[in-house]
Amino acid sequence: MLFGSLADLAGKSELWFSNCQDIQSLKDKLLNEFPELRNSKFLISVDKKLVKDNHQLQPGTEVAFLPPFAGG
């Protein structure tokens, strides 16, 4: 899932990727498909918890790319 500026740049907010063992490989696929996201800062969450690049993924897991927060 893409939020905020990332969804704007990619033109969509939901995407499905198969065969991603970890966050790093998912990130590579995403940036390959949407090179316009390469200059964006973001954090990554898996099942609503922030994670690092090397976090392992299971098929069907909900991963979100979160640009800098602006609440309040």
């Binding site: 704007d8 609503k48 979160l66 800098p68 609440g71």
Partner: protein, 147 residues
């Protein structure tokens, strides 16, 4: 879960002064409270590259935001001696001059209310997945970023 459902953090559009007055009035039956601290975030008409911000359009990753709000709430109650606490945040469009965040903390003595309110606001700004599009007069926009 019951506690969380009873009070939804997100409010569609701006937070009205009337909602704030009603929240305050509800606390008159809680006579162990001696101090309330209320923080209100208001949308500024900032000038960015010579264009005026007219409004901010807020969006969120709601399930994650609700978990974060819940964590912040639990942490605040465990760190500070509080009687009660309420958080409201706008979602969707809020015009410049209108209120987008309302944090309301009540305690017996003032120190806990002050400490907790500030803690909660800083936590929300840093850790809750909410985004804001600053919309200009000409309908262009930039994405806001918290400091």
């Amino acid at each position: 879960m019951k506690e969380k459902k009873r009070h939804n953090v997100f409010v569609k559009g701006s937070i009205s002064p009337q909602l704030i007055a009603d929240s305050i009035a509800k606390h008159s039956t809680k006579t162990t409270i001696g101090a309330h601290d209320i923080f209100l975030g208001q949308v500024r008409a900032d000038v960015i590259e010579n264009k005026n911000v007219l409004a901010i359009d807020y969006s969120t990753y709601e399930e994650m935001a609700e978990e974060k709000f819940h964590e912040i709430r639990e942490a605040a109650f465990s760190k500070f001696d509080l009687t009660c606490m309420h958080i409201y945040h706008s979602i969707g469009k809020v015009k410049a001059g209108e209120i987008c965040l309302f944090v309301f903390v009540s305690s017996k003595h003032r120190a806990s209310a002050f400490d907790a309110c500030r803690y909660i606001v800083e936590e929300i700004k840093a850790n809750v997945p909410i985004w804001g599009k600053e919309i200009f007069e000409d309908e262009t926009f930039v994405w806001k970023e918290n400091k």
